[in-house]
């Protein structure tokens, strides 16, 4: 039984690795079409990645090995998450408490990359990473509240138990899912909250010093992180059986991504303090929802 689960886990991981950049290509196409441009081909992100992975990287910053190593450790962390999150196949290497491990691995992959970008020494990288850390701290509060809500409503921390959280139709769960949707949008670092990598202000934010192969892995792990977050959102909605996962999951995945891109093209960029205030208001909402759930709804 354990070997079957491991096989499912590995297949899930491969699916997410492959489909991540593809979704990014679709997004760029849609964003172009919304701006009256023809836009690149769907595989353009793959072409970029292949080109970047073949280019040699650049060593800079004081512990230049740490500067370069942190990118790959961040990438591997995300890989581990994709092992136990059921995406295309409904199995996976789940275990008790992996709901918390999911949150931790996502934030730890970001921590590693940011430590690397801090050590590059460029002032832009420092400011970009500080913004990224502040935003991830704020959104982690809301994520924690959502996790608590899920654990409360399904009274288990095992992903496979928890997943179809909609099985328990309570108002607090529905509001929680809505807030989770917003937080997933923010964690995707979509435009109103795309502050760590603000192109016009910080010339690439925390990715300014990475080149070639490292940059390829960073972009790849960004796309994987986006897919994982969306998969987590979808898994909370659709029940956990083969048919749903094979058919409805990809459709839902692409449609959510398309909706997010449409929202993103309509927005300008918010400053760091405005977005932090916004996320804090979101956390107050979630405190109310948890209270609601505790009372019994």
């Amino acid at each position: 039984m354990v070997w079957l689960n491991t096989l499912y886990g590995v297949l899930n991981a491969c699916f997410i690795l492959l489909v991540g950049p593809l979704i990014d290509g679709v997004e760029r196409k849609i964003r172009a079409r919304l701006q009256n441009r023809r836009g690149p081909s769907i595989l353009q992100t793959w072409y970029d990645l292949v080109k970047l992975l073949r280019k040699p990287a650049a060593r800079t910053g004081v512990p230049s090995t740490l500067f370069r190593l942190s990118v790959y450790i961040g990438f591997v962390n995300l890989l581990i998450v994709s092992l136990f999150i059921p995406s295309i196949l409904c199995g996976g290497m789940g275990f008790f408490g992996d709901l918390i491990l999911f949150i931790y691995l996502l934030s730890s992959s970001k921590v590693f990359v940011l430590i690397g970008s801090y050590s590059s020494g460029s002032p832009y990288a420092s400011i970009g990473s500080t913004r990224e850390v502040s935003l991830s701290m704020a959104s982690e509060l809301v994520l924690a509240e959502i996790i608590a809500l899920i654990a409360l409503s399904r009274s288990s921390l095992l992903l496979s138990n928890v997943f179809p959280v909609t099985a328990v139709l309570r108002p607090s769960v529905l509001i929680g899912l809505g807030v989770l949707g917003i937080i997933v949008y923010i964690e995707h670092s979509r435009l109103p909250f795309e502050i760590g990598e603000a192109e016009p202000e910080l010339a690439g934010g925390y990715t300014i010093e990475y080149a070639g192969r490292d940059l390829g892995f960073i972009l790849w792990s960004n796309t994987i992180r986006r897919t994982l977050l969306t998969t987590f959102l979808i898994d909370l909605i659709i029940p956990l059986d083969v048919l749903y996962h094979l058919v409805i999951y990809p459709v839902l995945l692409f449609s959510i991504m398309i909706v997010f891109t449409a929202i993103e093209t309509g927005w300008g960029r918010l400053r760091i303090d405005i977005s932090l205030k916004y996320v804090k208001r979101l956390s107050y909402v979630m405190w109310g929802v948890i209270l609601l759930a505790l009372i019994g709804y």
Binding site: N36, S41, Q44, K55, A203, T207
Partner: protein
């Protein structure tokens, strides 16, 4: 370059240009001539860049920053000299504080022991966005070069014969006596 056939990330380096060419580079990314459909993306940091869109005649003051920027782009790089100022120095090519476009810069790079990268020249003042895109496609080896050096040398035979006729015509009118040579008179029109 084979590596960049499908995707080329571009860094814009303005070394003192009148920013006519810089605006045309941005026009290449605007909806009408969308360069992104060809896989071209303008990046903010030289580390991410594969090619440099070089504009401007390299003023003396800009030289240190330009040299530092060119060295900041990782190795397999292409330089596209965009605009008359970059290709040949433009109107101010011989001014006292201008290095005369990309050739002047490469002379400095050579003196600093840095090998000048592969260069594509895109003339025009300012070059149309389509011309820039054609330059980019040429750099990636996807488009042919429509421009070639053309030389024309007049055949010597008929020209020499015509010269003799004229000389004969002259000698016919002014036979024999020729006036002494007078001092050379300097004509006023200065010619450079």
């Amino acid at each position: 370059m084979k590596l960049y056939r499908r995707s080329l990330w571009v860094f814009h380096l303005n070394s003192g240009s009148c920013n006519g060419c810089d605006i045309e580079i941005l026009n290449a990314l605007a909806p009408r001539q969308d360069a992104e459909r060809l896989g071209v993306k303008l990046v903010g940091s030289p580390r991410h860049a594969d090619a440099i869109l070089f504009t401007g005649p390299v003023t003396r003051e800009a030289l240190p920053s330009v040299v530092r920027a060119i060295q900041a782009v990782p190795e397999p790089k292409i330089v596209l000299a965009v605009g008359a100022c970059a290709c040949g120095g433009g109107i101010w090519h011989d001014s006292y504080c201008v290095l005369g476009g990309i050739q002047g810069l490469y002379r400095v790079l050579k003196s600093m022991g840095v090998a000048p990268p592969k260069t594509i020249y895109v003339p025009g003042c300012p070059p149309k966005p389509e011309a820039i895109i054609h330059g980019i496609m040429l750099a990636r080896g996807l488009a042919g070069q429509r421009q070639a050096r053309s030389e024309y040398f007049e055949e010597q035979g008929p020209a020499v014969k015509a010269e003799e006729d004229l000389h004969r015509l002259f000698h016919k009118c002014f036979p024999g006596r020729l006036p002494p040579k007078t001092a050379r008179v300097e004509w006023g029109v200065t010619r450079y």
